[in-house]
């Protein structure tokens, strides 16, 4: 029951569920930011776990890709790879 978990959220950082998602994060977990959640890459009010990834297509659309660390950006193939690696996934 205490496997590691892949958390996926599409909520903007000021959405209440975004905070629930971060508060549920445990050591060994990973986080994918997609859609509006990629804004968290440059949010000065909230720190992200070190194993956080953001969908590049969403980050480029919202023009945060150029202001975020490159290593955090993933494409849809990486996204699928992560969902295959983690057997427990929560879509926040």
């Amino acid at each position: 029951m205490t496997d590691t978990t892949l958390h996926i959220t599409n909520k903007a950082p000021d959405h209440p569920r975004f905070r629930y998602c971060l508060s549920a994060f445990k050591e060994g977990d990973a986080l994918i930011l997609m859609e509006d959640a990629v804004l968290a890459l440059t949010d000065q009010e909230q720190a992200l776990p070190s194993t956080s990834y953001a969908l590049s297509a969403d980050a480029q659309a919202r023009a945060v890709a150029n202001r975020a660390p490159r290593q955090q950006l993933i494409d849809y193939n990486d996204f699928v790879q992560l969902t295959a690696t983690y057997s427990r996934i929560i879509n926040w």
């Binding site: 029951m1 209440p16 569920r17 629930y20 508060s23 549920a24 445990k26 427990r88 929560i90």
Partner: protein, 116 residues
Amino acid sequence: MSTLIIIDQSPYGSWAGREALDMTFSLAAFDQPAALLFVGPGVHWLCQGQNADNLGQKSVEKNLSAASMFGVEDILADAGSCARYNLAIEHLISGTTLVESIRDTIAGYNQVVFAG
């Protein structure tokens, strides 16, 4: 394979919570272990004394009161959210269990699902 369904929105203002209940009852109907966790404004689903007649909606209180009969294993409410909205356990429908940590709670389920 136990599933936790989370409801984090007020009743009546949106339909997603009702659809989350439908998912929960559907799991139970197929003999799949299911539980409900209410957080944030969602804790108001559990309040006793709901009267939605003037909204033209059916009260959700009765559905929830019958949840255990339908095989829903646990009805959980986030204690911090209840405190924020000044709700004590005696305001809530019987059978509700308060939980202190969302993180610890969801760790006990294989699946964690939102309806929308």
